[in-house]
């Protein structure tokens, strides 16, 4: 009975009695590491929690600390933050769709096999992804761990010419993203329908990414500051990771499916049209089909990036001067993998007294395990190799944040 840093399914008479997924290292280390540090260090430190979605960590922490200080960023800063987030979504979604999940759905061993058979598809995917990197680099100074975000705004405005120079690539990307939706619709998805409670940030005027309310498909609507009144993190015995549940003791789902189902009204026109033409009936409840949700979001974020690049005209200060005071603040933004919540307490000198970070994967973990339960009757009848693949494909469809030092999924089925 040991997890081996992977997936463990315990069976009794062919029925799953226990499922443990142990793939994820929570950012507990960082919560301790941040204590006693100056608040302006926080965006850069938390960015290092994830090499794939550093912007999400920077943004959630910046908003939380701005709330603690009672400051509001300028509309220009807000627009640039959205543009930067577009870069992260583009990069992360292009990678996940083409290089991780599509090969799974097509029964390929990896993207290497896909690249051998359809080099153009993978070459385009890498270009789609690289444009996201370029956008991050133009705003953040570098693409892996951008350094320009600060509490109060940005350290400096990115060069207007460098930003505008991205337009031709972004326009190519929008078309390629529309093709990506068509591609996504051709893939074979295993049948699995789950009655999820979806949770995402919702904003009446834009596709929810920064600011707005925490909305649940069960009707619960909370401000970001009230998030912890609705969602609770707790320790479970088998895992280092904290598991989340709602106050009603329900598992819930964050991420692309939740966003699309709750926020499709706020998609930009091209993305809305692509959704309409896809013929998909919402809510989409098949976890594998989060690939389609990502594809539609890829269209949206290319479209939004084009808009924001065209409008980009830096003026006024790039950041608000901070007036330090004792306080507490929460912030949440939508990382590509789902809602990312931070809360901090600071003292009068701006030093961190307390930090809480609730990442999307912690919230989805109990849901992934529950989905695996739903899948087990089907996979226990399969030969072991096929069972491993089917379970892996499900886990990967969530795009979980897998710690860089954790070995990739190993499945162990034990008959009691």
């Amino acid at each position: 009975m040991e997890g081996e840093g992977g997936l463990y399914i315990g069976l009794e008479n062919g029925k799953a009695v226990e499922i443990r997924l142990d793939i994820y290292e929570p950012p507990r280390f960082f919560e301790g590491f941040l204590k006693g540090r100056f608040l302006q260090e926080v965006p850069d430190i938390t960015a290092r929690i994830c090499g794939i979605c550093p912007v999400a960590y920077q943004m959630s922490s910046a908003y939380a600390l701005e709330n603690a200080l009672g400051i509001k960023v300028s509309p220009q800063v807000r627009a640039l933050r959205r543009l930067m987030y577009c870069g992260e979504y583009i990069e992360s979604h292009a990678l996940h769709i083409y290089l991780l999940q599509a090969p799974d759905m097509l029964g390929k061993q990896s993207a290497l096999e896909l690249a051998a058979e359809a080099p153009e598809v993978v070459r385009n995917a890498l270009r789609l992804k690289k444009i996201g990197n370029d956008l991050l680099k133009a705003i953040g100074g570098r693409s892996v761990h951008p350094v320009n975000v600060c509490v109060g705004g940005f350290y400096s405005w990115p060069d207007e010419k460098a930003i505008k120079a991205l337009l031709p690539d972004l326009e190519w990307g929008l078309n390629a993203a529309l093709d990506t939706v068509k591609f996504a619709l051709t893939l074979p998805y295993p049948y699995l329908e789950i009655d999820y409670e979806f949770v995402a940030l919702h904003h009446p005027d834009e596709y929810g990414v920064i600011e707005g309310d925490v909305l649940s498909s069960n009707g619960r609507k909370l401000s970001i500051a009230e998030y912890e009144n609705g969602y609770i993190e707790e320790h479970v015995r088998h895992s280092n990771a904290l598991h989340s549940r709602t106050v009603d003791n329900n598992t819930y789902l964050v991420g692309p499916l939740a966003r699309l189902n709750l926020n499709h009204e706020q998609l930009l026109p091209n993305a809305k049209q692509a959704l309409k033409e896809s013929g998909i009936q919402l809510p989409l409840r098949n976890p594998y089909k989060s690939l389609i949700a990502r594809a539609i979001e890829l269209v949206h974020f290319y479209e939004e990036a084009i808009q924001l690049v065209k409008e980009y005209k830096p003026s006024g200060p790039a950041h608000v001067e901070l007036k330090l005071r004792e306080g507490e603040g929460a912030g949440a933004t939508e990382a590509p993998r789902g809602l990312l919540y931070h809360r901090y307490k600071i003292d009068g000198n701006g030093m961190i007294q307390f930090a809480k970070i609730t990442p999307p994967t912690a919230q989805n973990l109990p849901r992934i395990e529950a989905d695996l339960f739903a899948l087990t009757p089907r996979i226990v009848k399969m030969p072991e190799a096929e069972a491993v693949l089917t379970a892996e494909h499900l886990v990967r469809s969530y795009d979980p944040c897998i710690s860089c030092a954790t070995h990739f999924l190993k499945l162990k089925i034990e008959e009691k």
């Binding site: 290292e25 280390f29 301790g32 590491f33 290092r48 994830c50 090499g51 794939i52 990678l95 996940h96 290089l99 991780l100 990896s110 993207a111 290497l112 690249a115 051998a116 080099p119 993978v122 070459r123 890498l126 992804k129 690289k130 990197n133 570098r142 693409s143 892996v144 761990h145 990967r396 944040c401 897998i402 710690s403 860089c404 030092a405 070995h407 990739f408």
Partner: protein, 157 residues
């Protein structure tokens, strides 16, 4: 003129995982004549998974300096070509399941002129988040610098 990228890879908050970054930093200080040559480009970063491909553009050869896991004691230095590297990366290390060997293979499938690759690997011991670099690895860094210098000079020829 052969253009060479020297790429230090690692995560500086994770003990010996920082070895590649630290070695490239020290090599730059110790061998500025080589590091500052026009045809040499130095990069250092976390470079998860496919991000590696983005720094391989526009060079003829690349030297990757990274921590590796092996059955030998921490601090053991390896100088590898691409084929030999494959033995070290059967476990995907990246967040998206992309290890260095797979990424390089994808690069050779898709890039028109993927650079020649050499690797200097330092066997890691301590990889806990928040840990300091182990003494064995720290003591090995000067020898890693010598190895980098020799490799870069060989690639430049």
């Amino acid at each position: 003129m052969t253009k060479v990228a020297v790429i230090g890879i690692g995560q500086s908050l994770r003990g010996d995982d920082a070895a590649g970054l630290e070695a490239v930093r020290q090599w730059r200080e110790k061998f500025p004549e080589t590091a500052n040559r026009l045809e040499v480009r130095v990069e250092a970063g976390e470079l998860p998974g496919l991000a590696l491909l983005d720094v391989l553009n526009d060079v003829d050869a690349a030297l990757l300096v990274d921590a590796v896991q092996s059955s030998h004691p921490p601090g053991t230095i390896y100088r590898l070509d691409e084929e030999e590297l494959a033995a070290f990366t059967s476990d995907a290390r990246s967040a998206h399941g992309w290890g260095m060997a797979e990424t390089l293979k994808l690069g050779s499938q898709l890039m028109n002129n993927r650079p020649r690759i050499r690797v200097v690997g330092i066997t890691a011991g301590e990889l806990e988040m928040g840990a300091e670099m182990s003494d064995a690895v720290r003591d090995a860094i000067p020898r890693v610098c010598e190895a980098i210098e020799a490799e870069v000079n060989a690639l430049l020829k």
